[in-house]
Assembly symmetry: C2
Homo-oligomer: 168 residues x 2
């Protein structure tokens, strides 16, 4: 799929075809893309958890108020971030790095025919702490990305808004 088409046709998907198993090679392809996102000083401050276990997905839905689409999703990809030390030139950049990595996950998934939905976690402290326990990570749970085969087809939306651009 053309990159411009992927960007323009992607929408958040909240209904998936239940019971679909995503091949491991697809997760690896999607997460390889995630790892090729740009990051401050090329620190690549991220790790990923792929959750397919239905019980763990239920736990996630209990601690996150807007993650109900996981009922039908094939899996949740959890992006976890690692802050740099204050003295590093990359200090404070990890949330934007993880944001870029999450965007790459959405687009690579779209190219493979999957739908996704990005559910915010960080900086909500309750969600971060609860998810840290579930995933058992040393990083900071940053976002949850539901993924699966779409069972809805929302129309593209959004267009160029000249009021938001200044030419200098």
């Amino acid at each position: 799929m053309d990159v411009s088409e992927a960007i323009r046709s992607r929408r958040s998907i909240r209904r998936y075809k239940a019971g679909v198993k995503i091949p491991k090679e697809h997760f690896e392809q999607i997460l390889e893309a995630a790892m090729m996102a740009p990051s401050g000083c090329n620190m690549r401050p991220w790790e990923f958890a792929v959750v397919e276990d239905r019980e763990i997905l239920s736990e996630i839905m209990q601690i996150h108020p807007y993650a109900n689409m996981l009922h039908t999703a094939s899996a949740a990809i959890i992006v976890c971030g690692f802050p740099q030390e204050e003295s590093s030139p990359a200090a404070g950049l990890w949330p934007q790095d993880c944001g870029a990595s999450a965007a790459y996950i959405l687009l690579e998934s779209k190219g493979l025919g999957y739908g996704t939905c990005w559910c915010g976690v960080y900086p909500n402290e309750d969600r971060v702490e609860a998810l840290k326990n579930i995933v058992d990570t040393e990083g900071i749970p940053f976002c949850i990305i539901a993924i699966g085969v779409p069972n809805e087809d929302p129309a593209p939306r959004g267009k160029y808004d000249p009021k938001k651009v200044k030419f200098m």
Copy 2:
């Protein structure tokens, strides 16, 4: 260009063909893509400045220590963010939203044949304040993206690292 190829072949470009003018339609296409990035509660908390004026580009190089590639770049795209109020469910999400939008700029530009380089601004307070004066924005200058026709061709790098992924 295929989305997966765009993701895998993109590198930060620091040498551009000097003197190239990018058509306004291309900036509009790139910034339309930027505006289609996902954002918390779909707030789209961003604005953009496109700087082609060589004097303003010189000012930017004076206040940012790692933006020297602007010497040969055709322009700088400056992404500015707008925080939500503390009471909003989208509070604190704007840096990750702008990170996703910046990633979309890199990929749409790649699809059009342009090279880019993302230079961090936020949360460095000195850079934020100095750039706020130069761009004259009510938002928070988030990053500078140099853009132009590449005059170097760095090999793709990065690959899937299974140590960074946990399956559950």
